[in-house]
Amino acid sequence: MRTIGIVSMKGGVGRTTVAANLGAELARTGRAEVLLVDLDPRNQLGLHLGMSPEEVAGVSQAILDEPSRSRALHRGSDPLRWAPFGQPRERERLEVEERLVRQPELLRACLAGWSAPGEAISVLDSAAGPSGSLTALVELSDLLLVVLQADASSFATIPFLEEQLHPRRTRSDEGLSAHLLLNGVDEASRIGRDVRIALEQLQGRWAPLPFVIHHDEAVREAAALQRPVVEQAPGSQAAADFRTLAAWALEQLMGRRVADLGASPLTQAVVAAPGT
């Protein structure tokens, strides 16, 4: 099983939306069985997929009790299953945090309780910023997506990425493959364009992916209908963006070739300018 971690250094950037829609699109391709796991105590991931707001059971319970039996907490059916965080009491939530920091392998045990019939991908959604779930995700992930918006406050979190992500990694078998994903991009926003240009100048580890998830009202409407936008509005811009993201992720995880990821219009405009 390969694991994708979805993280963000600040809240409100659409991390859970990205996790839900990426997972749904990966499952829709038919190329892998997908398990989405919510590690954010706000317990929002399942709401994108039909969960009742009153749902209280979840992976937090498995981490505290018996990780190997976590399969019993899964919702949905193949090829897309998902596990909510649950609604533990405050003292239990703090205990979950502490356990994930001290024993990130507990999360691995939770995932091991899921035996998919074919190729399998787990998509893990963390809480925003430093947390026990971030520690566990960095440890377990084969591919890490750092979600941010094209604004100055998201840009201001970048200097902390190195500090927050890499010291948490103890696996020495391979490097951490982390990528910046811009979400909710408005092509008409001047600050958005300028932040993207500033990001594209970061030619090292933190250069952003060459595609973005655009701002699209269809995403909010789909969330209100508790369906992934790739199912609710497959012809929307956001659905097309998530298809691109899923194809890229498959290529990263399984070596599958993607014919044309395409550069962003902004990148094309700058690259095409004379004198570059």
């Binding site: 100055a152 008409a188 300028d194 932040v195 500033a198 100048q201 030619q203 933190w206 405009a269």
Partner: protein, 116 residues
């Protein structure tokens, strides 16, 4: 149009709004190099610029030379290719003299001051 549309200023707001509405905002950057587009982007937004400077400082990348006007505003920009470990050597080699960051820790500023 490049450089004429800083936030809150300029007489072409109506034109700017029209361009945004038709999705032609990228015209801001047509006809200028990627480096110049980045320089202008940083100058428009102090927070973005401050973060870019911190990233450049942390990676040891060279900082771009300033014009007199920019120096007066104590604004520095990231050199082309700077900001990441992969481009560090190229930036240091190719971009000419490094400009001192005026916000570095205090100390003797010249041999004359040292002598005093």
């Amino acid at each position: 149009m490049a450089g004429a549309t800083g936030p809150g200023g300029g007489g072409d707001r109506a034109a700017r709004r029209l361009l945004d509405e038709i999705g032609a905002g990228e015209l801001d950057y047509v006809g200028i190099s990627a480096q110049e587009a980045a320089r202008q982007a940083l100058l428009r937004w102090p927070l973005v610029e401050a973060v870019a400077r911190a990233l450049a400082r942390a990676s040891g990348a060279a900082l771009a030379p300033q014009t007199a006007d920019e120096r007066a505003r104590t604004r520095l920009t990231v050199a082309p290719g700077g900001g990441g470990a992969a481009g560090r050597d190229d930036a240091a080699d190719a971009d000419g003299p490094e400009v001192e960051d005026e916000t570095e820790a205090p100390g003797p500023r010249s041999s004359w001051e040292t002598r005093r």
